[in-house]
C-alpha cells in the first residue's frame, strides 16, 4: 500500500503547489489584505506537509502520520486559518452586538461536537498504543476547532454593510470543508483504512485549490466594495 501513499502525497503536493502558485501570483498582485495573505501561508504549510509526507514515504519506509515533523505543517495550516479569521476578519465583521449573540452561540455547537470526536479519536489512538500520535493530534485539534468556530460564525452572521462577509463566504466554506476532510482523514488513519486515508489526504489539497479560487474572487469583491 506504500505506493498509494506516495501517489496521494505527490498528487496532493502538485495540487497544493498549484493552489499556492495561483494564490500567490494573483493575490499578492491585486491586494495587500492580511486575511488573504494568511490563507496563502496556510496553503504553503500544507504544500510543505504533503512534500514532507511524499519525501518520507520515498526515503524512509517507517513513516507514520502525526508523528513526524510534517505534522507541524498541519498545525501551521490551522494557525494560519485562525490568524486570518480571529485576528483579521473577526475584528472587522463582528462588533459583538447583542443581536448577533445567537449566531455566536449556534457556532459553538460545532466545537463541542468536534471535542467529542477528538476525545473518541484520542482514545482510539491510545488503545492502539499510539499515545504520541494521539497527543500530537489533540494539540492539532486546538487551533483546528477554534478556526472551525470562527468559520461557522462568519458564515452565520448577517451580511455586513461593507459586504466583507459575502466576499469571504466561499473562503470560510472551503476552510470548513478542509477541516471536515482532515477529521475524516484522522478517522481513516485510526481505523487503518489506508485507501480512504490517502483519498482524504489528496482531497484536502483539492479543498485548498478551491479555497484559493474563492480567495481570488473574494479579494476582488472586497476591494470593489471598499
Amino acid at each position: 500500500m506504500e505506493y498509494l501513499s506516495v501517489i496521494s502525497s505527490a498528487a496532493a503536493f502538485l495540487v497544493s503547489g498549484l493552489a499556492f502558485t495561483y494564490g500567490a501570483l494573483k493575490l499578492l498582485k491585486i491586494n495587500t489584505l492580511a486575511y488573504f495573505h494568511f490563507l496563502i501561508w496556510g496553503v504553503a504549510c500544507f504544500m510543505l506537509l504533503s512534500l514532507s509526507a511524499c519525501v518520507n514515504y520515498l526515503c524512509n519506509a517507517a513513516y507514520e502520520p502525526y508523528i513526524s515533523i510534517g505534522s507541524f505543517g498541519s498545525l501551521g495550516v490551522y494557525i494560519a486559518f485562525l490568524c486570518a479569521n480571529s485576528g483579521v476578519l473577526d475584528k472587522i465583521v463582528d462588533e459583538k452586538l447583542p443581536e448577533t449573540r445567537k449566531y455566536r452561540y449556534i457556532a459553538l455547537i460545532v466545537p463541542v461536537l468536534a471535542l467529542v470526536a477528538v476525545t473518541w479519536l484520542f482514545s482510539a489512538y491510545f488503545k492502539k498504543g499510539n499515545t504520541v500520535s494521539g497527543i500530537i493530534m489533540v494539540a492539532l485539534c486546538i487551533p483546528m476547532i477554534s478556526s472551525c468556530y470562527f468559520n461557522i460564525k462568519h458564515l452565520l452572521l448577517p451580511a455586513d454593510a461593507m459586504g466583507i462577509l459575502k466576499a469571504t463566504a466561499g473562503c470560510n466554506a472551503m476552510c470548513l470543508v478542509f477541516t471536515l476532510i482532515e477529521f475524516l482523514y484522522m478517522f481513516a488513519v485510526s481505523f487503518d483504512a489506508l485507501v480512504f486515508a490517502n483519498l482524504f489526504f489528496f482531497l484536502r489539497s483539492v479543498a485548498l485549490l478551491l479555497l484559493m479560487i474563492f480567495s481570488v474572487k473574494g479579494a476582488k469583491k472586497w476591494l470593489l466594495q471598499n
Binding site: 499578492l28 491586494n31 495587500t32 489584505l33 492580511a34 486575511y35 495573505h37 494568511f38 501561508w41 504553503a44 504549510c45 510543505l48 506537509l49 512534500l51 514532507s52 519525501v55 518520507n56 520515498l58 526515503c59 524512509n60 513526524s68 515533523i69 510534517g70 507541524f72 505543517g73 498545525l75 501551521g76 494557525i79 494560519a80 485562525l82 490568524c83 480571529s86 485576528g87 483579521v88 475584528k91 472587522i92 487551533p143
Partner: protein, 213 residues
C-alpha cells in the same frame, strides 16, 4: 567534539567580531547577526548532541529533531531584533539572511573540518550552495513572516509559530533528501525556492505590503 567546535567558533568569531569596531549603521547590524548565526549553530550543536542522547536514532534525529532545534535557535535573534528594535522591513530581511548564512558558514566549516581529506571539491561546492541557501531560505522565511506580523500584537505569537513551523518542515524535507539517494533533488530545492523568494522581496521593497489591515 564540543571543544573542537568551540575552537573553530572562536577562530572564526574573533576576526569577524573585530570588524564590528570599524563598521557603522546597517553594516554593523548585518555583521552582528552573522555572528549570531555562528553562535546559534554552536548552541544548536551542543543542544542537539544532548537531545541525541535520549533519541539514539540518528535518521529520526536529523529528520525530525534537529530541524526543530536549529530553526528555533536561528529564529531567536530575529525575534529579538523584531521585538526589541522594531526596525524597517529591509533590515529584518537582511538580518535574517545574515543569521542563516552565519549558521551555514559555521555548519559547513565544522562538517568539512571533520573530514577535510576525503571530501571532494565538488561536494564542498554543493554543500556550500545547498546547505547555505537552505539555511538562508529558512531564516529569511521566518524574518519575512515576522516583518509582516510584528506590528499586529493579536497575531504576533501564533504568526511567529506559523513561520517557524514552515521553516522546520522545509528544513526537514532538505535533511531527508540529502541523506537519501535523491541528494541532487535535495540540493536543488533551496536554489529553486531562494530565487523566487528574493525576487518577491525585492519587488516588495518599495511598497510596504499589508498596511491596509
Amino acid at each position: 567534539m564540543v571543544i573542537a567546535e568551540l575552537k573553530l567558533f572562536i577562530s572564526i568569531l574573533l576576526p569577524l567580531a573585530s570588524i564590528l569596531f570599524i563598521l557603522r549603521g546597517e553594516s554593523r547590524t548585518i555583521m552582528t547577526f552573522l555572528l549570531f548565526g555562528l553562535a546559534a549553530e554552536v548552541l544548536s550543536n551542543c543542544l542537539g548532541s544532548y537531545i541525541f542522547g535520549f533519541s539514539g536514532d540518528s535518521l529520526f534525529f536529523s529528520n525530525n529533531i534537529s530541524p526543530a532545534v536549529e530553526e528555533v535557535l536561528k529564529g531567536l535573534p530575529i525575534l529579538f531584533l523584531v521585538f526589541a528594535v522594531k526596525p524597517k522591513r529591509q533590515i529584518i530581511y537582511e538580518a535574517s539572511i545574515a543569521v542563516g548564512i552565519g549558521f551555514a558558514v559555521m555548519e559547513n566549516a565544522l562538517i568539512i573540518s571533520q573530514d577535510v581529506h576525503s571530501m571532494s571539491l565538488g561536494i564542498a561546492f554543493l554543500r556550500g550552495i545547498g546547505a547555505g541557501m537552505m539555511h538562508a531560505v529558512c531564516t529569511l522565511a521566518v524574518g519575512y513572516g515576522m516583518s509582516f506580523i510584528y506590528r499586529k500584537k493579536r497575531f504576533f505569537v501564533p504568526g511567529t509559530f506559523l513561520f517557524l513551523f514552515m521553516a522546520m518542515v522545509y528544513h526537514s524535507i532538505f535533511n531527508t533528501l540529502v541523506q537519501s539517494q535523491y541528494q541532487p533533488v535535495g540540493l536543488c530545492i533551496p536554489i529553486l525556492t531562494f530565487i523566487p523568494l528574493i525576487i518577491h522581496i525585492i519587488k516588495e521593497y518599495p511598497n510596504d505590503a499589508c498596511e491596509s489591515i
